[in-house]
Symmetry: C2
């Protein structure tokens, strides 16, 4: 029994192109025609490889969060809660205005509200954003245990806050705010984390 004709395209490179289309137009705004053209394949190849449009989105999200996860590891490796917040928010200011990518964040652009039949998409995106928030929360829990954050501070609230600011910056970026504007937001936002930090001794 043979193994069949081999695939003629690179799945990861195709995913990168699909990711950009979803990023720019959102899940519902992206059409199969746009996706296949960007990926350089025909619809049957797409469906054979990813199942359907939502499967392609999930694969693109997997790839996105995998790349992003590497960076998040660097973020939480910062020495203090304040440094974590600064590294995260300043990094986001830069990443979300990087001309190499569409503006904003795929986890927001992908779809905040969707129509009937795609109700699952916003949940999917929210779940991935929640993963980042969890990682931040764990880091802030540690910061509190280490005495880096005040004993009265709430690590979960801080993580939610940083996550919320990140999302807000993503929307700003996608609607035309430039890097400098985002950095100013990040700069102000970090001060709230600083206010929760223990005094320097």
């Amino acid at each position: 029994m043979g193994m069949g004709r081999p695939r003629e395209f690179d799945a990861e490179m195709a995913l990168d192109q699909a990711m950009e289309v979803f990023w720019r137009h959102g899940y519902e705004g992206a059409t199969i025609a746009q996706l296949t053209e960007a990926m350089g394949i025909n619809p049957p190849s797409l469906y054979a490889c990813f199942g359907n449009k939502e499967g392609l989105l999930k694969a693109a999200l997997d790839r996105y969060t995998k790349l992003r996860g590497v960076w998040m590891d660097e973020v939480v490796a910062a020495p203090t809660a304040r440094a974590v917040a600064e590294r995260m928010l300043m990094g986001i200011a830069d990443k979300q205005t990087d001309p190499a990518n569409p503006p904003g964040c795929l986890l927001v652009q992908g779809g905040i509200a969707c129509g009937t039949g795609s109700e699952n998409v916003p949940f999917e995106l929210a779940a991935r954003r929640a993963q980042n928030e969890d990682q931040l929360r764990e880091r802030f829990v540690r910061a509190k245990a280490e005495g880096d954050l005040k004993p009265t501070s709430d690590p979960a609230a801080l993580a939610r806050y940083v996550s919320a600011v990140s999302v807000g910056m993503g929307v700003m970026a996608s609607s035309g705010s430039d890097r400098e504007a985002l950095r100013q937001v990040a700069d102000v936002a970090v001060q709230a984390v600083e206010a929760q930090s223990a005094e320097k001794t």
Copy 2:
């Protein structure tokens, strides 16, 4: 010459229903069938009154921002920059989790990314969000002039920051965060504004 048959529905009540559909499903996710059913009218009445789907959205946005404008006036009437931020963000925490409305903010849920033919929608929403930001900035400029904010503070950056947090909270609300979670975010966020406030004398 006669004046023609009078309209049988109330345009504002119909708009309220349309607003809720856009709010819940976004511009692209909302269908004319859903809109007409919610509004209690048939498609020809919709098109005669609002032109097309995008015209209906703009009319709904006008109504939304008009209602919201009343509240924003109360927000900027708070005595200090810190109080403005607190009233705004705490109010948003409550409004965006009010079960009387869909969760989140129409200016975000309406559409952050859209497909070909609706590229104008995200711009339209961004422009309305910018109006709020302008109002905040003017208020913070005044706060700085009054010595309420530090001489080193940047009112424009502060306004952008509060606006960004508001948007982030809207996304959180639409993805299931409850009122308490949003209030915690607001509470942390206010501390950044406080850090820019002059010392109490």
